[in-house]
Each structure stands twice: as C-alpha cells, then as structure tokens.
C-alpha cells in the first residue's frame, strides 16, 4: 500500500523542462528581464548559476533600487563580472544628475564593445556625453 502511494507521488512530480534548454535559448529568455532579476536567476540551481555572466542584453533600471547607492554598486559589480564580449545590447535607465561621473564611466566601459546602446536619462540637467560616444550629426551636437 505504502509503495503504491509513493509511486503515485513520483508520477505527479513535474519535470523541469526549462533547465534542459540550450544556453543560447535560456540567455535569450534572461535578456528580457531587468538586470537584477536576470542575475537573481543564478540562485535557482547549478544549471542557472553561470548563465548571467554571458547575457546578450543588459537592462539597468535605477527605479528598481530603493537607494541610488545600491544601484551604483550593483552596476559597478555587474560590469566587472559580466563578459562584455557577449553583450550585444546595453540599456541604461538612470537619473544621471545623481551620478554623472558613474554614468560616464559605465558608458565608457561598454562603448565600442556593445552593438546597441540605449540611454534613458531622467534628469533635466545638462549631461555631457563622454567623448567616446560619437553622436550622429543630425542630432545637432
């Protein structure tokens, strides 16, 4: 009797299919998540542990963090640990008024490496884009 109960239980255990997917597919899924959520998936299991370091797209959002200091630390740390060669798309949502120096450092770190760079600056103050960024003339710069 006991044996049949445990058999039924085993049969009900659902299979973990997502972890069987190849790395490029899982990385593409992670690229749709905000950066901190993509990194958090490394805590799921050993299969997921190393994936975030090869993310093809990183999306940083200040508003996801309660304190600007934790956001700055997070981006700094992630940019050091992630393999920038694999990053094709880099999106940065930041109030640059709060961290103009850091914002420029991050742009310098990724420029020339990523294929696509998207910046969302919420500050109304003037922000001087680092000289490493060549802007199209049509923008009037």
């Amino acid at each position: 009797m006991e044996r049949s109960v445990s058999k039924n239980k085993r049969r009900r255990t659902k299979k973990d299919r997502i972890s069987d997917l190849p790395d490029p597919l899982l990385l593409h899924i992670l690229s749709f998540l905000p950066a901190e959520e993509a990194v958090a998936t490394s805590l799921l299991s050993k299969r997921w542990r190393p994936l975030w370091r090869s993310l093809p797209a990183i999306d940083f959002k200040t508003e996801k963090f309660r304190y600007i200091k934790s956001f700055l630390q997070f981006v700094d740390k992630m940019l050091k640990l992630v393999d920038l060669k694999s990053v094709k798309k880099f999106v940065l949502n930041v109030d640059c008024h709060k961290a103009p120096q850091k914002t420029s450092e991050w742009i310098d770190a990724v420029i020339g490496k990523v294929e696509y760079l998207e910046l969302h600056m919420s500050s109304t103050d003037v922000y001087e884009v680092p000289s490493s960024v060549s802007l199209p003339r049509t923008l009037g710069f």
Partner: protein
C-alpha cells in the same frame, strides 16, 4: 518552383499529416528548404517530416499562417497592432504545457518572431517573482548544498533565496 503549388503536406514527429501554405512556410528557412525540395523533387509523393510533435506543430502552423500576410507584403501600423494583440492571446493558450516545445520548435525552425515571443513569454512568467516562486513555476530543483547557499548569500546580499 511551380506556381501551382499553394500548400505542402508535412508530417509531425508523431506521424500526423499537416498542411501548410507556401506563403506561411516562408517564415521558416528550414520549412522553406523543405518546400523547395518537395516542389523540385520528381518524387512528389514524399512527405517531409518536421521534428516537432503534433500538438506543437498545430500552434507553429497557426502562427505562421497568421503572420504570413504581413511578413510577405508588409502591413500598416493598425495591422501590426492587431497582430501584437493576437500574439498575446496566442501565447495565453495552455502556455505552461507547450511553451517548452514552442521554444524548441521556434529555435529549430529558425523562426525569429516566434522565438522572441516565446522567450518573452517565459521571461514574463519569471518577472517580479522570487527565486522560490520561479522554481515552483518551472519545477526547478534547488541542487545547492547548504554551504553553497551560504556562500551565494554572501556574494549576492541583495538577492533572496526565498
């Protein structure tokens, strides 16, 4: 390619027959190659097999047929908006059961639009969830030892295991 051919018959990995129109098959390179083989082959009775199960192939063909007119001729913004709405509804259908198969099929059939849509859907299931909630949704087993978990906690102070 003969212009008289409007649809081809393909077999699923379960051995069921499905019809797919020529314009819909163009959304996938491998499907398009199969179509050219069928149209140019002398042996027209040969039915190509697609390594996708019947349940998933029904969905893949449904997606191809819906997207084919826009992919082949371009469309207005209102069409694009309508198609976006359709995509959302399309992925709502028993998504947990076959999302995995759709992801694999889109990858295998080189269908960029469906691949993005399925990956976005999987990501949306994770968005805003805790680590343990994501494990529950996808039946992922936590295989870290307690020492490894302790080490990870120190490395990711902002992330929670719960």
């Amino acid at each position: 390619m003969s212009s008289s051919v409007e649809a081809i018959t393909v077999l699923s990995s379960d051995g069921d027959e499905f019809k797919i129109t020529v314009s819909a098959a163009k959304l996938s390179k491998p499907l398009n190659w199969m179509l050219e083989d069928v149209c140019f082959s002398d042996d027209c009775d040969e039915v190509p097999t697609i390594e996708v199960n019947s349940k998933t192939l029904v969905k893949v063909i449904e997606y191809c047929e819906k997207h084919a007119p826009r992919a082949n001729s371009g469309a207005s913004d209102s069409d694009a908006e309508e198609l976006k709405k359709w995509d959302i509804e399309f992925m709502k259908m028993d998504v947990k059961d076959i999302l995995f198969h759709i992801l694999m099929a889109a990858n295998y059939l080189h269908m960029e639009g469906l691949y993005d849509l399925a990956c976005q859907t999987a990501a949306d299931l994770m968005k805003g969830m805790t680590v343990s909630q994501i494990r529950k949704i996808f039946h992922i087993k936590n295989d870290f030892s307690s020492e490894e978990q302790e080490q990870l906690r120190r490395q990711h102070p902002g992330c929670s295991f719960d």
